[in-house]
Symmetry: C2
Subunit: 357 residues, 2 copies
C-alpha cells in the first residue's frame, strides 16, 4: 500500500496516555500498532497530560506542548480525568482545557464514531429489535462549533439573580464542511444519510443545518437523505437502529447520540473515535469514547478494545487502509470469541489481537 504519509517515515505519533486506565489501554493500542506496521514505521513521543499532571504541576496544556503536538502526524489519546472524589480538579478544567482545546486548536471538525454491533456482543436491546438486521452505522459529529465553543458566561454569579448563558455558534463554513464529509463517507458505505437536529425549536441553527444539508445533498443524487429530530432519533436508536447508515449532527447532539449508540452496540468499552482534520492542516487525534475509569485503574482489567479499534481508525486516516482493515478484523474476531469465556486481562486482550493481525 502507498499510504498518504508513506513519504515521511517514521510517522510521528504523539501518545497521551492520560489518567486512570488511559495508559493501560494505550499500551495495548501501541502493541497492536507495532505488530502490524513493524518496528520503525511509527516513532512515538509520549506526552504527560491529564489530571495527574495538573495536580502535580498546575499545568493543563502548556503552549510548548501544544506546539509540539501540532508537529505530530497523529495523536493517540487514552483518557483524561481525575477520580470522582478529586474535588481539587475544577469541572471542565481538563475537558475545556485539554480535550476540547486540542479538538479546536487542531480543527478536528469531523468527530468520527462508528457504531457496529459485532457478532457475539451482548446488547441491552431485545431480540426482536436485533432480528431486524445488522446494526452498523457511522456518526459524523461536528467537532468545532455549536455549544462546545465555550461562548457563554454568568452575570450576578452566585446571587439569587444569577444568569448563566451558553451560546451555540454555527457557521455556514463549519456546517457545510462536515456535512460534505459525511456525504462522502455515505458514498463509501450504503449511500444513506440522516441529519439529526431540532429545527422546529432551534430554528436558527436548525435552519442553517437543514439548508446546507439539502444543498450538499443535491450534489449527491445517489445518496438517500433523511431527517429526524434529535428526540425522535432516540426512539429509533433503540427500536430500529438498522435504519441508520451515516448520521450527521452537531457537536452536542453528537455527544449524546454516540453514547446511546455505543450502549446499544455493546457499551463504551468497544466504542472507538477519531477527531479528524480532513484537510490535514493539523494532526488528527484518536481516542476511545470511554473515560479514565479511575475505579478500575491499575488493576490490568480494563478492556483495551476501543483503543485498539481507534488505532484502526488512525491507520485508516493515515492511509494504511489495508492495515486498518486487518486491525478491525482481528479485533472483531477476538470480540466474537469472548462470549462465555472468562474475562482476560488488559494485556492478554492486546497480546491476542496483536498476534492475530
Amino acid at each position: 500500500p502507498t499510504p498518504a504519509t508513506s513519504a515521511r517515515t517514521p510517522v510521528n505519533l504523539a501518545v497521551i496516555g492520560g489518567d486512570g486506565i488511559g495508559p493501560e489501554v494505550v499500551a495495548e493500542g501501541l502493541k497492536v500498532l507495532d505488530a502490524i506496521t513493524g518496528p520503525g514505521t511509527f516513532a512515538t513521543t509520549r506526552y504527560d497530560l491529564g489530571a495527574a499532571r495538573w495536580q502535580r504541576t498546575g499545568e493543563v496544556l502548556p503552549d510548548s506542548v501544544l506546539g509540539e503536538l501540532a508537529q505530530a502526524d497523529a495523536i493517540l489519546l487514552g483518557a483524561v480525568g481525575a477520580a470522582p472524589g478529586a474535588t481539587d480538579v475544577p469541572s471542565g478544567l481538563l475537558e475545556r482545557g485539554l480535550l476540547l482545546k486540542l479538538r479546536f486548536a487542531f480543527d478536528h471538525y469531523v468527530n468520527l464514531r462508528p457504531s457496529r454491533l459485532y457478532p457475539g456482543v451482548p446488547t441491552p436491546l431485545a431480540g426482536d429489535v436485533l432480528d431486524r438486521g445488522e446494526i452498523d452505522f457511522l456518526v459524523v459529529r461536528e467537532g468545532t462549533e455549536g455549544l462546545y465553543c465555550g461562548n457563554g458566561g454568568t452575570v450576578r454569579t452566585g446571587t439569587p439573580h444569577e444568569i448563566a448563558t451558553e451560546v451555540s455558534v454555527n457557521t455556514a463554513f463549519g456546517v457545510e464542511r462536515v456535512v460534505r464529509d459525511a456525504f462522502e463517507r455515505a458514498t463509501r458505505r450504503r449511500n444513506k444519510i440522516t441529519l439529526l437536529h431540532k429545527h422546529n425549536v432551534l430554528v436558527n441553527a436548525g435552519g442553517l443545518w437543514r439548508r446546507l444539508f439539502e444543498s450538499v445533498a443535491a450534489e449527491y443524487p445517489g445518496v438517500t437523505t433523511d431527517y429526524l429530530h434529535i428526540d425522535a432519533a432516540m426512539i429509533f436508536l433503540v427500536t430500529d437502529p438498522q435504519r441508520f447508515d451515516v448520521i450527521v449532527t452537531d457537536n452536542l447532539f453528537g455527544d449524546i447520540v454516540t453514547d446511546l449508540a455505543a450502549a446499544v452496540t455493546g457499551g463504551i468499552g468497544l466504542a472507538a473515535s477519531g477527531n479528524i482534520n480532513p484537510d490535514r492542516t493539523f494532526p488528527s487525534m484518536f481516542e476511545p469514547v470511554h473515560g479514565s475509569a479511575p475505579d478500575i485503574a491499575g488493576q490490568g482489567i480494563a478492556d483495551p478494545t476501543a483503543t485498539i479499534l481507534s488505532v484502526g481508525l488512525l491507520l485508516e486516516h493515515l492511509g494504511f487502509a489495508e492495515e486498518a482493515a486487518r486491525v478491525e478484523k482481528a479485533a472483531v474476531a477476538d470480540i466474537a470469541a469472548r462470549r462465555g469465556q472468562p474475562r482476560r486481562s488488559t494485556s492478554a486482550v492486546g497480546d491476542a489481537i496483536a498476534a492475530a493481525v
Copy 2:
C-alpha cells in the same frame, strides 16, 4: 375528596384537539374524564388551533384566544402539526408559535413526564435489563428556559458566511424553582433524585444547575442525590433504568431524555405529560408526548392511552387525587390486558377505560 379547585365548579377546561389524531385521542380523554367526574364537574370549551387553522386562516394563536385560555383552570391538548409533506407550514411555526408560546406564557416551568414500564407492555430492552427490577421514574423537565427561549438569530443569512446562534438562558430563579419542585416530588416517591446536565462542557449553565441542585439538596437530607452527564445518562437509561426515581434536567436535555424514556417504557403511544405551573398563576396544560401522526389520522386506530394518562395527571394537578389514581389504575389494567389481543379502535380503548374507572 376536596380538590383544590372544588370551590369553583364547574372546572373550566380548555380543550385543544389540534391536528391529525389529536382530536381523536382527546375525545377519548374527555370520555374518561366525564365517566369519572360525572356531568357538570368540568365545563369544556373547544379551541380550534393548529396547522389546519393556520392553513385556513393564517392565524396560529390570536391574542384573544391566548387571553381566553388564560382564564381556564386547565388545558387539555391533543397534538398539533401538519402532515410531513405540507411544505406550506414553516418549521417551528406551530412549535414556537403555539406549543412553546403556551408553555412560556403560562409559565409551565415544570414539564412532568412519568416513565413507568407497565406490566405487559413490550419494550425494546432485553430480558436481563428488565430483570433488574421495576422501571418507574419521573422526569421533571424545566419548561421555560434554556435553549427553548428562542434567543438567537442569523447574520449574513443564506450566504456562505452565515452565522446562526442559539442562546441557552438559565436563571437562578428558574433553575431553583424547578429543582425544588423535583425534590418535593422525590419526597413523595422513593427519595432519590438525579440531575442530568453536561457541566464539564457547559460550565456556565452546568455550574449554575449544579450549585442550586446542591443547595436545595441541603434542605432535603432524606433525599439521595446523584449527578450524571447527559451522555452517560443515555447509557444508563438502556442498561439500568431502574437506578432512576426522579430526574431533573433542563429543557433540551429533558426533551431528549423523555423520548428515550418513553421508548424504553413502551413507546410514545403511552407517554403522558403535564406542563405545570405549580404556582397556579396560569392554567397548566396536559398533553400526550406523541405528535399528530397524520399518517394514521382519521382512521380511528390511534392509541388514546397517553391522552387518558394525561387526563390522570390533570386530575391530580387539580386536586382530584383519588380520581387521578383511578384513571391510572384503569388505564394500567387495560394496558395489561392488551397483550396477545387484537388491536382495538381508538374509541373502543376509550370506552373500555371509561367503563372501568
